[in-house]
């Protein structure tokens, strides 16, 4: 039983000018974004940025202070009950009742999510197998390990096969092996369901998500695919060299290859001759690969010895730091409490 969204053409999520204030203090401040069907969107942001608050508003659990949210064309504010049928939600820290068994809990949740009784037991077995929980299905929730608890949360979110899945920090507290299982799980949902997930683990987001939304201080500071974000925030490629010899000629050699190539940080005046190999960073504004001409020029330079040349890939981490830093520079204001 896959719940089908009512409007076939509307995007999965449309958020426009969303505002949420706790006692007058804004936790989410004028956020707008759209998520297409079947897309996997990653939410990134420092603690207290408004990620969880935004997710809770999307699920219809929290009312917004201003702006509008539509899920598959349905306004969340006025038709929350229908919207809740279309969403599988796993909240932060995944709270579970302590004294129920895994299968018992999932059965109860399935009933609440209106999975027909005849379909439920089959679906339960499927979900337990998918989340690798079959071995612990009769265990009591309060005695499960952190990893198993997280997986029960994911199982619960996908149980009713909703078209939209929202997960707040699904991989928090998991070991690398379990993270791999969760990543596989999300990859398997690709194309069938729209997924929004937030995480602190940046490689995680980079590997699983089609698009990333970076939130800081209640505002969207960047959005796009990880590659597009790199271009936008770091704007240039970098190369790492390992060279020895007469380093003073290096700027001239770089200038011959391309005028935009420069050392960063620049060489100190006393660098001069160096017998030891040194690791240096060269940046350029050009996006195309200058690796080959650069290598040729370095090898051809008579007083330089080259041991390595590598194009440095900026990670999402750099983008994250750059974008949140930029928004801190722009937005002025006291640190605000509430809403992680």
């Amino acid at each position: 039983m896959t719940v089908s969204p009512p409007d076939d053409s509307a995007p999965a999520i449309e958020v426009s000018h969303l505002v949420k204030a706790y006692n007058g203090i804004p936790a989410v401040n004028d956020i707008s974004f759209t998520v297409g069907r079947g897309e996997i969107l990653g939410f990134l942001g420092p603690n207290g940025a408004g990620k969880s608050t935004t997710m809770r508003i999307l699920t219809g659990y929290l009312p917004a202070t201003g702006g509008s949210v539509r899920v598959f064309g349905l306004p969340v504010a006025s038709r929350a009950e229908e919207v809740k049928r279309l969403i599988g939600f796993m909240p932060e820290n995944n709270p579970l009742p302590e004294d129920m068994r895994v299968s018992e809990y999932l059965y109860y949740r399935g009933r609440l999510k209106e999975v027909p009784r005849s379909r439920l037991s089959v679906r339960l077995d499927e979900v337990l197998a998918l989340c690798d929980l079959t071995r612990v299905r009769h265990r009591i929730l309060g005695q499960l390990s952190k990893g198993n608890r997280q997986r029960v949360g994911i199982a619960e979110a996908i149980l009713a096969e909703p078209p939209l899945i929202i997960m707040d920090e699904p991989t928090i507290g998991l070991d690398p092996h379990q993270i791999l299982i969760v990543r596989d799980l999300i990859a398997r949902l690709r194309g069938r369901m729209t997924v929004i997930l937030s995480s602190h683990i940046l490689p995680e987001i980079e590997m699983t998500c089609d698009r990333v939304l970076i939130i800081n201080r209640g505002q969207v500071v960047a959005q796009g695919s990880p590659a597009a974000l790199r271009r936008e925030f770091l704007g240039r490629s970098a190369y790492e060299l390992e060279v020895a010899g007469d380093l003073e000629v290096l700027p001239a050699v770089l200038g011959q290859v391309d005028p935009s190539l420069r050392l960063e940080p620049p060489l100190s005046p006393e660098a001069g001759q160096s017998i030891e190999f040194q690791r240096l960073r060269v940046v350029t504004d050009r996006e195309d690969d200058l690796g080959e001409p650069l290598l040729h020029a370095l090898v051809a330079a008579p007083r330089l010895r080259v041991r390595g040349l590598r194009r440095a890939e900026p990670s999402l981490e750099d983008v994250f730091l750059a974008s949140t830093q930029r928004s801190w520079d722009v937005v002025d204001g006291a640190p605000r409490p509430g809403g992680a």
Binding site: Y22, N23, R56, T59, G60, Y61, L62, P63, E81, E82, K84, R85, I87, F89, P91, N93, P95, L96, P97, E98, D99, M100, Y108, R109, R111, L112, K113, E114, E156, G338
Partner: protein
């Protein structure tokens, strides 16, 4: 209301595996057993005016004060403390269904425990072999009173639980509210200040809300619709406040 029975079923199961339910049950049956034995002793010592049943139900307040808080303190407070209220309310379930489901489960258990005291009267009839001891009128009247007043008492407990995320605070809150309703109002009725002409409507209102008086009427077989209305409207009001209590915490964090 389609999820009401799912939640009710679940809550009854959870109450049946919860230690506090068993503590409440053991305390309840022990105390009521002692009360009943005491009543029988006084009957064997000297002739009495009232039937054992009507005297027995005079002690209804004793279990109400501790049993209702024990049965209800957990229901909403614990869910909010664990954060499971959030997962519950992100499914297509309304706050009303959640509150009514929890109320229904606690009420079911409350009535189950009271029903078990029926065994006392059965034992009495069986061994005394004398139908005079078990006077059907006061017995049925007493149980009807318990069933009707229980609605309000449990609803008050649920309301107290909706106000706090701490079970102990919810329990003490329920106790205080019940104490105010049952004992406080009978104390207020006796206050001389209410004899003032200006306060006459207040005096009438207080006289109308005397729980002990209601019990006496029920035991005599008088079912006054005003009293039924008092309990039913009080129950509805307490449940509406519980729903608002849960939703207000969502609105204001």
């Amino acid at each position: 209301m389609r999820h009401f029975f799912t939640i009710l079923n679940q809550e009854i199961r959870m109450l049946l595996v919860s230690p506090s339910t068993f503590i409440a049950a053991v305390l309840f049956l022990a105390i009521m057993g002692f009360v009943f034995a005491g009543i029988l002793e006084s009957y064997s010592a000297a002739p009495q005016e009232n039937s054992p049943a009507s005297v027995f139900f005079q002690y209804f307040w004793l279990p109400v004060f501790f049993m209702v808080p024990l049965l209800t303190m957990k229901c909403l407070a614990e869910e909010r403390r664990l954060g499971t209220l959030e997962t519950l309310l992100t499914t297509p379930v309304t706050t009303t269904e959640v509150v009514l489901g929890k109320f229904g489960a606690a009420y079911f258990l409350y009535m189950l425990l009271w029903a078990s005291t029926g065994g006392f009267f059965y034992v009495l009839q069986h061994f005394a072999g004398d139908a005079r001891f078990v006077d059907r009128g006061p017995l049925i009247g007493g149980y009807v009173f318990i069933a009707v007043s229980g609605l309000l008492f449990i609803a008050i407990g649920v309301f107290a639980s909706s106000l706090s995320r701490n079970q102990a605070v919810a329990g003490i809150g329920a106790f205080a509210l019940l104490f105010g309703l049952i004992s406080g109002l009978s104390f207020v009725e006796g206050m001389a200040v209410l004899d003032l002409e200006v306060l006459r409507p207040l005096k009438e209102a207080v006289a109308y809300a005397q729980v002990f008086q209601h019990l006496e009427d029920f035991s005599r077989g008088i079912v006054d619709t005003r009293q039924l209305l008092f309990y039913l409207s009080g129950t509805v009001l307490a449940l509406i406040f519980s729903i608002l209590g849960v939703e207000a915490k969502l609105l204001h964090g």
